[in-house]
Amino acid sequence: MSRAAETADPVVIEAAPLKTPLYDEHVALGAKMVPFAGYLMPVQYAGIIAEHQHTRAAAGLFDVSHMGQARLVGPDHATTALALEALVPADILNLSPGRQRYTQFLDGNAGILDDLMVHRPADPAEDGVLMLVVNAARKADDYAHLAARLPAGVTLVTADDRALLALQGPKAVDVMVRLGAAVADWPFMSAGPTRLAGIDVHVSRSGYTGEDGFEISVAENDVVALWRALVADSDVAPVGLGARDSLRLEGGLCLYGHDLDTGTTPVEAGLVWSIQKRRREEGGFPGADIVQQQIRDGAPRLRVGIRPEGRAPAREGTEIQAADGTPIGVVTSGGFGPTVGGPVAMGYVAAGHAAPGTRVTLVVRGKPLPAEVVALPFVPARFYRGR
């Protein structure tokens, strides 16, 4: 038997892999550690399916400390927001204090350099600050990209001394409240400081599983104590990268380097919702002419959900054909969906084949397998929108 790639995105590491401050905790919990984006990360503890199901039923705890946390610091909100708006298509100027938005760094062809979260602090003393969370594999490039393009007076301050946890699932809010965080009524995509298990943290109600949940930024010196307090809760189980990938795939969420890259525009990727009306009309971001043209006329290809018939998963790279055998696209994320109970995939197809219900063929190990284009997500999102 030959082993195929262990993780979705193994990165060949020439230098010694980095470890997050939780490395010893993962090993003590029996995690299988694998190289990912330059770090040794837990791919699973008890098992991917059990961890996936636990997250959908209760609360899963993820170490995402490998992701990049940084602050843009300027003299006032408008100055900092406009500096970032020169690089991303979201409306940052009108982002309210205490709110977070998802956006993308674009290149001049509207290709996606990375996707990121942007949060505006609520505290008036932090007017002019924007907090960013970027992908681990892209953070060095993102920081260089930003540093080279920021106007005078706006600086990039990386927060390499911060760790990041994600607590995801329908019981995540109960766990947070039990540990003292005043977050019960925070709606999805709000963020701010609070205390959790007696530790100062910065929390956003967001995540990447389709479930209600939180991302928790904490000083690296405090993260072991916080991790232990969270895993001690009976509703919480640690979850590795394996289930993180199956959860986000069922949630129809894009993974950079797979579903998004510089050959993909936000319109093709189905991310027009993340470009607010003012920016669609005014432009002023890299590739704006292409984005506006694709919004107006339609993109040549589109990201779709795909349900293979039968049980064989269709992995990344699988060719997608029309019913007559014409190649129309490729799978960019594919595997087994534990909540769906069968194979699920996302990929790009020529726009004429993107309607849900379209019959397609997947070529898996040389064999044509019938499949159908379906609406995303595979599992409905359960974000907390407020009472």
Binding site: A4, I48, R311, P313, G335
Partner: protein, 123 residues
Amino acid sequence: MAKYFTEDHEWLSVDGDVATVGITDYAQAQLGDVVYVEVPEVGRTLAKGGEAAVVESVKAASEVYAPASGTVVEANGALADAPATVNESPEDAGWFFKLKLADAGELDALMDEAAYRAFVDTL
């Protein structure tokens, strides 16, 4: 029945000239949750080292190579509906296929159970 093992973590349980083939407990533990198994069709001729089956975990697909040459005389169709059997009973109910051996002499190069356990300990 004699049992043999390969360095690729397949096992063969040999009864006369028919070998039952599967993957070892070590292999299933490394794979994690098995979600799909593709077994060869009955009547197919396999060459030693050729692709014989596919086992997929949540994360990845792995090919299973024929540990000996022969003709497939039976495939474990139950795995189609219950692939997790490979995790639960890898060296018994989770067998993949039965092979009528073309050359029993090929077995001489394989490991016995003690040698395989010692081999796994080095990994």
